[in-house]
């Protein structure tokens, strides 16, 4: 196996801290007593619950119906009784309607869960429909509905599918373990996406700090036509959609555009494996691999967790906290969201739970900009974070907009590299929010 490593311009090298969990096999987590399954786990319209309090549900049974095109249904991850339908806190920070199910521990599978006719016999529309009904939303973190990505609007042509296995976020090893343990599912998922889009070219991009994953996938892909495994340079944010496209096929997504504008559809390897699961076994997305890691947790692990299990249950299964936790983050340290409560459910986009110690969680003191230009050097989008940030801090959002603030992908590479520890990405996010609010206001007038 001899692969050339590809990459993009810019980026940075945060310590990746993956050593703790990268060699730990994925373990099936304990059955939780209750699960709270939010009706919104994706970007788009919320689902409407189709069960009532007191109903008996089974594993894989649909409990939330998608409303609108950009939306995916939600399924039960356990069998048992619905004990409540109420708003509960979720990792996004707001309360969302959740279906709370008391687990009867019998793990009865819903009768509707049967394998489909198989990839060869299904048409493109049928595949997209199965993917939608299986509740697939991007499992890399943003949770964009998978069937929407696969439905290319008229006027655009797509010729390539890229699977994102770079997992550039420090600490996380969920995708890594998936690639090592279930490479055939990932590759099958890619074939499914290629069939759905009717394209002939597929790539699987994996960072070269995961040689075992590269090898495992390479062995499966060998001899399969049109599919290529790409080794990517270990660099943050290698897994960002636009950077991945740039690295793999040297195309650029236009400002404000989507990957489809560059003729590409990008999906996470986790989503691909879930698609394979849905097509091969008929099982919707009800479990996902979550990396529970960080110095603040006793036994870091890669767990296969049922959607709706609370963070508390998952952390307890990993031996609980070491001392007082400084910060609990849903996702990785660069783009994850810090949580103030651990009574929140694991959702489709929860790739990791990172527990930092009090010492690690301390924020460095921010000082004046020394105009070193490092943030500009590392910005993967070729923006000038220092300028946008300064405008944002002075409430000069029009100037921030003219510096293309909206193209920022909020990867945080600039904030990480800044020697003065300026709040770069924080302020750019404020600017983006303000610019979008202003546009919305102008539109409604």
């Amino acid at each position: 196996m001899n692969l050339k490593t590809l990459s993009f311009k810019g980026g940075t090298h945060p310590p990746h801290n993956k050593g703790t969990t990268e060699n730990l096999k994925v373990v099936q987590s304990k059955q939780p007593d209750t699960v709270a399954i939010p009706m919104v786990q994706h970007i788009g319209a919320p689902c409407e619950p189709i069960v009532q309090k007191g109903d008996q549900v089974e594993v894989g049974q649909k409990i939330g119906e998608a409303k609108g095109f950009v939306s995916v249904p939600v399924h039960s991850s356990v069998s048992g009784e619905v004990i409540a339908i109420e708003p509960r806190l979720t990792s996004g920070g707001s309360a969302i309607t959740c279906v709370v199910i008391k687990n009867d521990m019998k793990d009865t599978v819903y009768e509707g869960i049967v394998p489909t006719a198989g990839i060869d016999k299904l048409s493109s529309e049928e595949i997209i429909n199965i993917i939608k009904e299986a509740g697939l939303a991007g499992m890399g973190g943003a949770a964009f509905p998978a069937h929407v990505k696969l439905s290319i609007p008229p006027g655009k042509t797509v010729d390539t599918v890229i699977l994102n296995g770079s997992e550039c976020e420090p600490y996380l090893t969920a995708d890594h373990r998936l690639l090592v343990e279930r490479p055939e599912d990932v590759v099958d998922g890619l074939i499914i996406f290629m069939k759905a889009l009717n394209v002939k070219k597929g790539f699987i991009g994996i960072e070269n700090n995961k040689p075992d994953a590269l090898e495992a996938v390479y062995n499966i892909v060998k001899g399969k036509e049109g599919i290529e495994v790409v080794a990517l340079k270990t660099k943050y944010p290698q897994g960002a959609e636009k950077q991945l496209i740039n690295a793999c096929i040297d195309r650029e997504v236009p400002s404000g555009g989507l990957p489809a504008d560059a003729g590409v559809v990008v999906n996470n390897v986790g989503t691909a494996a879930a698609a394979a699961e849905a097509i091969k076994r008929g099982m919707p997305l009800i479990k996902r691999i979550v990396t529970i890691t960080g110095k603040g947790v006793k036994n870091p692990q890669n767990l296969l967790v049922r959607i709706g299990t609370s963070f508390r249950d998952v952390i307890e299964e990993c031996g609980g906290f070491v001392g007082t936790p400084g910060k609990v983050i849903a996702g990785g340290p660069m783009m994850g969201i810090a949580q103030y409560s651990i009574d929140i459910p694991v959702i489709k986009g929860t790739s990791g739970i990172l527990v930092l110690t009090e010492e690690e969680a301390k924020l460095p003191e921010s000082s004046n900009c020394i105009r070193c230009g490092k943030c500009i050097e590392v910005c993967p989008i070729n923006l000038m974070p220092v300028n946008i940030s300064n405008y944002a801090l002075e409430d000069r959002f029009e100037q921030a907009e003219s510096c293309n603030a909206l193209d920022c992908i909020e990867c945080g590479a600039c904030s990480f590299i800044c020697p003065a520890k300026r709040p770069l990405v924080d302020s750019i996010r404020v600017a983006k929010r303000e610019i979008l609010a202003k546009r919305k206001k102008a539109q409604s007038k």
Binding site: G93, S94, A338, Y340, L363, D426, S427, V430, R433
Partner: protein, 274 residues
């Protein structure tokens, strides 16, 4: 000798007369007619160019008042005194509008409102808003990071003990803070009306009690106490209709009753009517 003096005098004098005639002719021929009222009104306006009136500045407002497209009381900063003077110039009578002031409808300071997490980011309410709606337990209340304080051109609003408070003497009702506040909890009210509901929480009473000691729990005592139907109760929250409110204070007197009904472990009243 005489020539050396004469010729320059004659030349320069001649030029001066020539240009004088040209300029005088031009000033008559190309004269832009301006309304003298614009000048007079502009002189009266404060000149801060704050933009509170909605026009580009005091000049623009003066022009608009003079041509009748803006009301004589359009400048919120000058108040009734200014409106009267402008009305005199315009030869109309100013409608007697009362001075408005901004009020922050939240009383959840550091003692009263529970914090749900420690916020360490940039000192800006809009930034904190993105993290689960700010660090306060109540998602409707004042974030207390002073975005309003930053935008106020008159130094009239300050964050005191975790909640923004308006200095009503300095406030000119320019609405800058109202626009900037991500929680939308600042409202304009007539300055004489002293009764107010300092809460925007529309959750049920039990949830309000969990996050704030002074939140409106929707007990409706104040609604019953008001003889003028000035307190409207909607969405689990009391709201005052200032057209009807007479500052009678009956609602305020209903507070002891509420305290009586309160659970023992809570020491102060929920309602802060004053």
């Amino acid at each position: 000798m005489i020539n050396e003096l004469l010729w320059p005098t004659v030349t320069l004098g001649g030029l001066a007369i020539f240009f004088g005639i040209v300029l005088t002719y031009a000033s008559k021929k190309f004269e832009v007619k301006t309304d003298p009222k614009v000048e007079q009104i502009r002189f009266l306006l404060p000149g801060a160019n704050c933009g509170a009136c909605g026009y580009a500045g005091c000049d623009a407002l003066a022009e608009s008042i003079a041509d009748g497209s803006a009301s004589v009381s359009a400048c919120p900063v000058g108040g009734t005194v200014l409106a009267q003077k402008v009305a005199d110039i315009m030869g109309v009578t100013a409608e007697n509008s009362e001075r408005m002031v901004a009020r922050v409808l939240c009383n959840g300071d550091k003692e009263n409102a529970k914090e749900k997490y420690i916020y360490q980011g940039i000192e800006d309410c809009k930034a904190a808003e993105m993290l689960a709606g700010g660090s306060k337990g109540c998602k409707y209340g004042c974030t207390g990071l002073g975005t309003c304080e930053k935008v106020c051109p008159f130094d009239a609003i300050h964050v005191i003990n975790g909640v923004a408070v308006v200095d009503e003497d300095k406030c000119t009702a320019c609405k800058k803070c109202i626009e900037a506040c991500p929680k939308k909890i600042i409202a304009l009210v007539p300055v004489s009306k002293k009764v107010r509901v300092l809460c925007k929480n529309i959750d049920k009473g039990k949830e309000v009690m969990g996050v704030c000691k002074v939140g409106c729990i929707g007990c409706r005592r104040c609604v019953k106490a008001c003889e003028f139907d000035a307190i409207i109760f909607e969405n689990n929250l009391a709201r005052i209709d200032y057209e009807k409110c007479t500052n009678c204070g009956a609602a305020q007197r209903s507070v002891p009753l509420i305290q009586f009904l309160m659970k023992q472990n809570r020491k102060s009243g929920f309602c802060r009517f004053f």
